[in-house]
């Protein structure tokens, strides 16, 4: 089945993602930032669906928008945000930081526009129906060692988070 209105949905989702990302780093209230970041992540999940990656889109919604952002909201509730709302939002070197990063962005755009011919014009069409199956096979066949290392990393992160957030060990 041919995709419909690809151009419109690409620009729609990209605009939502970028506008909400800009709002994330400019809002004063961290709760608003977290909620806008969830909208950005959901728009990115839509972009993954347009790139024929339904499994990654599902993981993005479940793990990122559902798990990690709930963790962020819990921590925002734990710390005192009334005081943070009265203070200066940006630090002293914000002009230099924004200028340097803008230069980096200009360089990236320049490289993309100059080197657009190195990307193949026609993309492969991977079948969506077996995407999850193929990713599972690759995870357990080709990437078994990185998979185990990732599980070990998550275990270390759990222990480290508990140790650091606990009052006395």
């Amino acid at each position: 089945m041919n995709p419909v209105a690809t151009t419109f949905f690409f620009y729609f989702l990209s605009a939502i993602a970028i506008i909400c990302a800009i709002l994330v780093i400019t809002r004063r209230n961290p709760v608003h930032s977290a909620l806008l970041l969830i909208i950005t992540l959901l728009a990115q999940a839509g972009l993954y669906l347009m790139l024929y990656a339904p499994f990654v889109a599902g993981v993005q919604i479940l793990v990122y928008a559902g798990g990690i952002m709930v963790l962020y909201l819990f921590v925002i509730m734990l710390v005192n945000i009334e005081r943070a709302q009265l203070e200066e939002r940006f630090n002293k070197q914000w002009v230099v930081g924004a200028l340097a990063t803008g230069a980096l962005g200009g360089l990236l755009l320049f490289i993309f526009v100059k080197g657009r011919s190195i990307f193949p014009a026609t993309a492969h069409m991977f079948p969506e129906q077996v995407n999850t199956q193929q990713i599972g096979l690759m995870l357990y066949r080709d990437y078994l060692l990185p998979f185990e290392i990732a599980s070990l990393l998550l275990l270390v992160a759990i222990v480290g988070a508990v140790v650091m957030a606990k009052k006395r060990i």
Binding site: T7, L71, L78, G97
Partner: protein, 101 residues
């Protein structure tokens, strides 16, 4: 209108990456800095998935590893933030000076 190719996705990912980097460099609140790091990791994920359309599924598998790393990073970072808030009663990055003399 033109066909949406890999380059369009790369430009969107670059924009998100730049926005995240500006957030890390300019904000004072540690929570917003951690959220900006999430934005950066998401931009990398978008690049990986966009290239996996051209070169096979390896990019999608790697983006799952990046998501696992992001979960570990945010858990440890928020643990450090809670420990710091308990000591100094602030969440501002430029007041983190316990190791300075």
């Amino acid at each position: 209108m033109a066909e949406i190719g890999t380059l369009h996705y790369l430009v969107v990912a670059a924009a998100l990456f730049i926005i995240g980097t500006i957030g890390v460099l300019t904000r004072r609140n540690v929570l917003i800095i951690l959220m900006s790091i999430e934005l950066i990791l998401n931009a990398v994920n978008l690049n990986l998935v966009a290239f996996s359309r051209l070169y096979g599924l390896h990019g999608q598998v790697f983006s799952i590893f990046v998501i696992a790393d992001a979960a570990a990073e945010s858990a440890v970072g928020l643990g450090i933030l809670i420990a710091f808030f308990r000591n100094k009663e602030t969440v501002n990055m430029d007041e983190v000076d316990l190791l300075k003399w």
